[in-house]
Amino acid sequence: MGPLFILSDAPLWVDLLTAFLIGIAFGFALEQAGFSSSRKLAGMFYGYDTTVLKVFFTAAIFALVGSLFLQYFGLIDLNLVYVNEYYVGAAIVGGIIMGAGFIMGGFCPGTGICAVGIGKIDALFFLFGGFVGAFLFAESFPYIAEFASGYYKGPTKINEWMGISAGLFTLFLIIIAVAMFWLTEKAEKAFPKPEITNEL
């Protein structure tokens, strides 16, 4: 349960129940935002529908603003939040592979499972492909281990790397986000695909 209380303080079933409820809420939100449609997801790449960017960026910024304020008022301890460890090479290659899969498949892992939930056959195959990929990665790991665990930077936060306060970084991020929302709205007008967007 992240920063609200320490994992080991609560019995296991409380942790599992919380995870279950959060998972249901997440899936419901994804489906309600229309993200189980692969055309909506691919629209981000072609520019006719940028809902994905807007939704995820807004969610991230709201979470960031909220947690920083809660920390300021001493309600949560952000030092307990797990910071992903940063492997530069692996992150770049992984990002490219994931992005390519994203465009071709039309789902990201979360929305893929969402789409299976509403009974999409293509999502079933997408998910199966994901499992095959995971299997291949695990089997071939000894050959790529050196690269995958190279260029290690440890758990870094961008604001610490830039040497500015978390609040100032958040302000920059919000300005960037607002600028991107404005740009993407322009893009939606520049590359319209009414035959798809009307259907969505």
Binding site: G2, P3, I6, L7, S8, F26, L30, T58, I61, F62, V65, L68, F69, Q71, Y72, G74, L75, I76, D77, N79, L80, V81, Y82, V83, N84, C108, P109, G110, T111, S165, A166, G167, L168, T170, L171, L173, I174, I175, A177, V178, F181
Partner: protein, 203 residues
């Protein structure tokens, strides 16, 4: 003005407030200064070397003796049953298990009282109970328990018991610290009660 513009304005406003936040470092669970002073006033966080000697001789298992000195000083001699957490490493995660609990009585000691009091304050302000400072520290232990001699004509029953306890504690101290290093530290490698690592991921 539509909803998007309003939300954008709201977000930028929040960002401005965040960017101007003073660098106030209060963290969750930290006491307020007034609460900390209340705790200091109670003055019940002290333990004398004679009390400690009695606890040692009686093999009290509810105490957790913490030696805050450097590893070298700890190796030279330490009070039997203590674990070594150098003060410089007090806030490291690996020792979190010793500090973040309320069950055992923690007794901090250093050569004097300054370092043990600093550790006491740090633990106290995280609102953990049952923390004690060894009064006078290791110097006082030597002065009273190791080198204390009875000077007087007649000894009362209470004094007799006191000196007997000191004698036993002294013998225990000498015996334990005279053993070869390999045996002394075989069982003393501090168990690292690591806090469970919180894993994260992304959909």
């Amino acid at each position: 003005m539509n909803a998007r513009v309003l939300i954008s304005i709201w977000l930028v406003g929040m960002g401005l407030i965040l960017a101007l936040l003073p660098n106030n470092q209060t963290t969750m669970g930290q006491l307020k200064p007034s609460e900390l002073v209340e705790k200091m006033k109670q003055n019940d966080g002290l333990i004398s070397v004679d009390q400690l000697a009695r606890l040692l001789v009686n093999e009290d298992s509810t105490i957790l003796l913490i030696d805050l000195r450097s590893p070298d000083e700890y190796k030279e001699c330490n009070i039997p049953g203590s674990v070594n957490i150098p003060y410089a490493k007090l806030m490291d995660k690996e020792f979190g298990g010793y500090l973040e609990q309320n069950e055992m009585k923690r007794i901090f000691y250093s050569n004097s009282e300054i370092i043990s009091t600093q550790a006491w304050v740090l633990v106290a302000e995280m609102d953990y109970k049952n923390t004690f400072i060894l009064q006078g520290g290791m110097n006082s232990w030597y002065q009273t328990v190791m080198n204390g001699r009875f000077e007087g004509e007649r000894i009362t029953a209470r004094e007799n018991a006191l000196f007997e306890t000191r004698m036993k504690a002294r013998n225990l101290f000498i015996e334990t610290n005279s053993l070869p290093d390999s045996i002394r530290f075989q069982f003393k490698i501090a168990k690292q009660k690591n806090r469970k690592k919180l894993d994260g991921g992304c959909g």
